[in-house]
Amino acid sequence: MGTASVIPFGPQHPVLPEPLHLDLVVEDEVVLEAMPQIGFVHRGLERLVRSKDYNQFLYVAERICGICAFGHSMGYAETVERLMGIEIPQRADYLRTIWHEMSRIHSHILWLGLAADAFGFESLFMHCWRLRERVLDLFEKTTGGRVIFSVCKVGGVQRDISPSQMSEILAVLDGLRDEYSQLVKTFLGDSSVYSRTAGIGAIPHKDAVELSMVGPFGRASGVNYDVRMLGHGAYGDLADFQPVLSTDCDCYARMEVRCAEVLQSIDIIAELASKIPAGDIMVPVKGNPAVDAEACNVLEQPRGECYYYAKGNGSKYLDRMRMRTPTSQNLAGMTLALKGCDLADVNMIILTIDPCVSCTER
């Protein structure tokens, strides 16, 4: 028996691009406890609603997180639309959903790359990021931005996707599907990957439900919940939507779920593209949110359910804007998964929750 000692992990750590600090209490290379310390990315964005009006704040909302940037602008815009009782054109809804699903593809492939990096498979990491560039090219063609798009507005979207662009999107994603499936074969079939992920950091279904884990992290532990299955907006027009589930509960299962969700998103985009109605993409927005009007909204971000709340005060500034992000839900699961794991597996476990620190701390 050794004596327990504390090892600091982060905030500057090669495995995570973001600053997350953990104090790991270890004894004989086994983690007894992990204590997260946060606050490295806290900027105080929610406070900005007081000095930026509800249209300007959209650009701040987009910059809550650069990976799910479009999701946040969409979630915020939908919340304000509910607050003011605005009905947006159906085409705008479809366009938003298409961009949002493309963001999910880019986010998941990005994550798969980082995961490959965490278990030391450098070339796989590079291949993932190579594929991801294609999705970013599509973003650039349709919106003008690679990371931050600024196409979503309260009342609709600012740009349309022309039929020729739409067919290009479908063609590129179709091409992506083949190459991506090759990568998935490595992720799910390679024995070195398997030995680093299978059986590591398992969270039983019961705990996952109790800790209200969301997103792919929860679904890998069999939590049958995905906001998309509620059928909001354009998702309601999908012929069928089943959340991707796994019951293995370990790091491997989380990888499996995300691998499958990319293909699911490609299918969703193809289906929406075939059904997209013609028409306007924006309705004019006039007036301000009413005094004490309240609205909330949920959205399935790449990392899980994100909840938005807004309150008006009669002026063009909102009284309050609040969001609860998937990672803040999942941190409890992460500390549980880290308990009793090997020090060498800490990287992998932290990564499989796909923490988004800048969303969480804002």
């Binding site: 406070r47 291949h127 560039e133 990371v147």
Partner: protein, 147 residues
């Protein structure tokens, strides 16, 4: 050209950025832009790094960390502020918790604006940084000779 400017190693730290610039920094290192073909390698160890890529508007908690990373890097060293947040605070400059710009904490040599900063801009900034690195190396040599 010194050995370090032929193949500078970079270190990246996210000082309260929104991730947008971080993934662009990584994208610059990955296929597509691929600065690794020029021998520019991302390292996690400040002592191995020549160029410090900082993103984000730096909040109170991060000041000490970037100072620490900066102090741990060996001379000559260059700091590149990536993204408008790192240059001036950008959209977050009136948030209560940010100091608004990396240059308020450590000396910055090259500024790469953009929101998010484009990988091309990062590459451009790193190339400019290499020239600064050379100058600093020369100055260091001259100082040693003089001493």
């Amino acid at each position: 050209m010194g050995y370090s400017s032929k193949s500078p190693w970079v270190i990246h730290y996210d000082a309260s950025s929104c991730n947008g610039c971080d993934i662009e920094v990584l994208a610059a290192l990955c296929p597509g832009f691929d600065v690794e073909r020029f021998g520019i390698i991302n390292t996690g160890d400040p002592k191995h790094a020549d160029i410090f890529l900082v993103t984000g508007s730096v909040n109170e908690r991060n000041i000490d960390i970037i100072k620490q990373i900066y102090d741990q890097m060996v001379e000559p060293k260059v700091v590149v502020a990536c993204g408008i947040c790192a240059c001036s605070g950008g959209i977050f400059h009136d948030c209560y918790n940010v100091i608004g710009g990396v240059d308020k904490a450590i000396p910055v040599d090259v500024y790469a604006p953009g929101c998010a900063v484009r990988p091309e801009a990062i590459i451009d900034a790193v190339v400019q940084g290499i020239a600064v690195l050379d100058q600093k190396a020369e100055a260091l040599k001259a100082m040693k000779k003089g001493a």
